[in-house]
Structures are given as C-alpha cells and as structure tokens.
Subunit: 251 residues, 2 copies
C-alpha cells in the first residue's frame, strides 16, 4: 500500500506535466490557489483491462478523463449494431467531453490494453468553471479541437483514398507519440487492423494490403503491430493535404 501510493504519486506528477490536462489548467491564467484546487479534484480510479469500458453511450456524464497509461478507443453504435470508431486516445490525451452539452455521453470508450486514467469529476469542475471564466475557455478550446478533428476526418473520408488515409493516420500517430516523449518513428499499435479500418472507413483487408504495399515500397516496416516509419517525407506526400494533425482530439 505504501509502495503503491508512492508509485501513484510519481505517476500523477508525470501525468500533470506532460498531459493535455496542462492545456486545461496551466495556461488558463489561473491563480496558484485555483490551480491547486483544480488539482485536488483529480481522482484516480483503478486501471482498466483491455476491453473494459471507461464510459458508455447514454451513461450520465460525470467526469472528464485524462489517459495516464495505455490507450483507449471511442466508438458509437448505430441502431442496427454497426459500430463506428471515432477516435483513439494516447497517454496524456483527454476524453469524455462529448457529453458536455447534454450531460450524457454519446459514445462508448473502452481500453485497447490495460490502461488507467485521471478523472476530473464534472460536478466540481463545473462549479469551479462557473467562477473561473478562463476554465470555461479551456473547455471551449477542447470541444473546439474535437470539432476540428472530426472535420479533418470528414475530409479524409470523403476525399482520400486508402493510401492517403493510412499515411495520414500513421503520421498523426507518430506526431502524437513524439509530442508525448515516445519515439515518433517507431511504435506499437494498440488497435487491431479491424479498428484502424473502421476508423478510416475501410475494410481490414484493405488496411492490411496497404501496410504491405507501404512496406514493399520502403516507406515503413511493419510486423504485426510494430511499425517503423522509414520515409516520413514520402509518407506525408502520400497523406495529401490537410494537416497531418488529424486523427484524434490530440494536438
């Protein structure tokens, strides 16, 4: 228990320095005491196993989450059971404000591997926001980024071919990994081909074939879920227009 607390403490510290929570609180012009109060709100539930849901569509929203470790996927279910993958979330990224308007989540988030989060309880966050205009501003900014991401995806889905889609996706992941201190040239995909395909509006076969093709052309090397980008220059030419910054609420 004592050990566990030490570990947790280190983790919190690491998270708050790197993660998107910083964008939520630090540059918001909060005074030191306000900032401390915000940090006191943070709760840290137990880790989730692969496949476990962080929240589900139509759940009452009661927190915003920051990924601490592992990764998540959000998706939403059509009435007939088809699912649409909306995004992937890496350590340091925020998710869950899709329900800010209605108070209900509109999509489901589940863990792609064992993962843990920091939780910002909504009630207290809102109370704080009502007194701190700058906090509201941060929330607008975050929702705005969500919109930006979705609109990039609209462009990708209506204009881009399979190669452009996959290249865009990989470069975006690389950028996000890089920004969080991981390697931007070599990484592990925590999502299946099926999930990538669904996210990109393709079939898993097409994704698989396109990976193989990229490898044949020397753009990258791939073995199952391990990817190394060998020629980012050429990849970004392939990815086509629209900042490669697409792929998730991430920035």
């Amino acid at each position: 228990m004592a050990i566990r607390q030490i570990i947790d403490f280190v983790a919190i510290k690491a998270a708050c320095e790197n993660c998107r929570l910083a964008a939520l609180c630090l540059p918001a012009g909060l005074e030191a005491p306000d900032l401390k109060r915000l940090e006191q709100l943070v709760r840290r539930p137990h880790p989730l196993r692969r496949g476990a849901a962080l929240f589900r569509a139509s759940d009452r929203m009661h927190a915003i989450y920051a990924v601490r470790a592992g990764s998540f996927r959000t998706y939403y279910l059509a009435e007939d059971g088809r699912e649409k993958v909306l995004g992937f979330y890496l350590p340091g990224e925020l998710l869950g404000f899709d329900g800010l308007g209605s108070g209900q989540h509109r999509c489901t988030a589940d863990a792609l591997e064992t993962a843990s989060v920091c939780e910002l309880p909504l009630a207290q966050l809102q109370e704080l926001a009502d007194r701190l205009p700058s906090l509201n501003h941060q929330l607008y900014r975050l929702m705005s980024q969500e919109i930006a991401h979705d609109q990039e995806m609209l462009l990708l889905l209506s204009d881009k071919n399979a190669q452009e889609r996959l290249a865009t996706f990989l470069l975006n992941l690389a950028q996000r990994f890089g920004k969080r201190g991981f390697s931007a040239g070599e990484f592990h995909l925590s999502m299946s081909r099926q999930n990538i395909a669904n996210y990109l509006g393709l079939t898993l076969e097409t994704v698989s074939r396109t990976f193989s093709q990229f490898q044949r052309e020397g753009l990258l090397s791939v073995e199952r879920r391990h990817v190394r980008l060998l020629d980012k220059r050429r990849l970004s030419v392939m990815a086509g227009p629209g900042r490669p910054a697409s792929s998730s609420t991430a920035t």
Copy 2:
C-alpha cells in the same frame, strides 16, 4: 426607411420566437433583465447576396450568427484548393461557433441565396457569459450539437452507400423545414447538386442519378431544385440507421 424599420421589427420578432436563438437564451434560466440584455446585443447587418461570405476561414471570430432568412453553407478549404462542404444552415439555425475555442473561424460561410442574419457580438456575449453560467451551458450545448452532427456524418461517410446518403440528407432537411414551420414534404433546395454531392462525399453525377432513381421508384418527385417527398416511410428505411437528425447543427 420608416417602412423598412417596421419590416425589420416584425422580422426580429418572428426570428426570436422560432429560431435557435431561443435555445440559447430562453430556456437557460435567465432572469428577465438578463434576457433583455442579451436581446439588446443583437445586431442585424444588411442582407447578403448569393455567394457572399458571412465569415471566412482564419477570420477573427467576432460574432455568432442566427439565420434570419435565406440559407448558408459552410465549407473548408484544403491546402490544395479542394473544398469540403461541412453543413447547410436554414432560417432559425445558428452558425459561427466553430471558432469559439481559438477565436478564429476554421471554415468559411457563404450565402446560398440572398440571406440575412442576426448577429450576436462575441465580446459582449462573452462578457455576459462570464457572469451567467447558464449561458455558458447553452454554448456547450450548441458546440456539442455540432460534434453530434459531425459524428453522424462520419458514420454516413464511412458506412452508407449513395442511396442511404441521399435519403438521410433529404429526410433531415424535411425534418428541419418542418420544425421551422415550412412544409416537411415539399421544399426548394437552395444548394446545387455539386454542393449536395460534396457534402455527402459523392459526385454530382451520382447525386443526380440517385435523384432520378428515387423518382422512378416513386419515393419522391423532383424537378431541378424542387423536391416533393412521396414516401417518407420507405425513404427512412433506405436511409438506414442513425437518427435521420443528421445533416446540420440543426435540431
């Protein structure tokens, strides 16, 4: 001039009763004096002609707009000049908060026909919002609806075929016209086939062919831009899953 003022006055009154501005101010639990203050912010610029821009991508955002008459389209330009149509806005609908996060618009809005708006200047709106938590809430709700719309479109673009897309689009328009007191069964399309196609991720030829096909099958009658829906039941079966409520920030 006197006459013009009278007309304007009537128009304001009509707009504030029907339009989405109501969702922004009326049910927000504002006290009467606050509400009056909000209404005093409203400005009414001159009408725009077909093709004229209400705001442009990368413009500094200085207002939220409510469509008073006519209709608008929003689109955004990729670096290579390709454009992607993001949405259409009918009388009573709100647009322009894509820039709430950054203070800059991310897309361009232009008039599809002669059109006019009510304008809520951002500076004053924000000032008011900083003192009225419920107004912030309304803004969250509106942004949230924008996200909901975009996500419906993601589903449409990755899963639906041409017929499903067009059926979804037409039913959505019908629903929105109906909600605003126009006929939900028969209406005029203010946007070209090209715009519809771009919005739906198709080519204009495919849109045109699909219209013809629907007509052959007795689902609707169409002549240029005049559409009459003859069998909504069957159309909504065609449209497939996902509330037909897609198509714009509208609700």
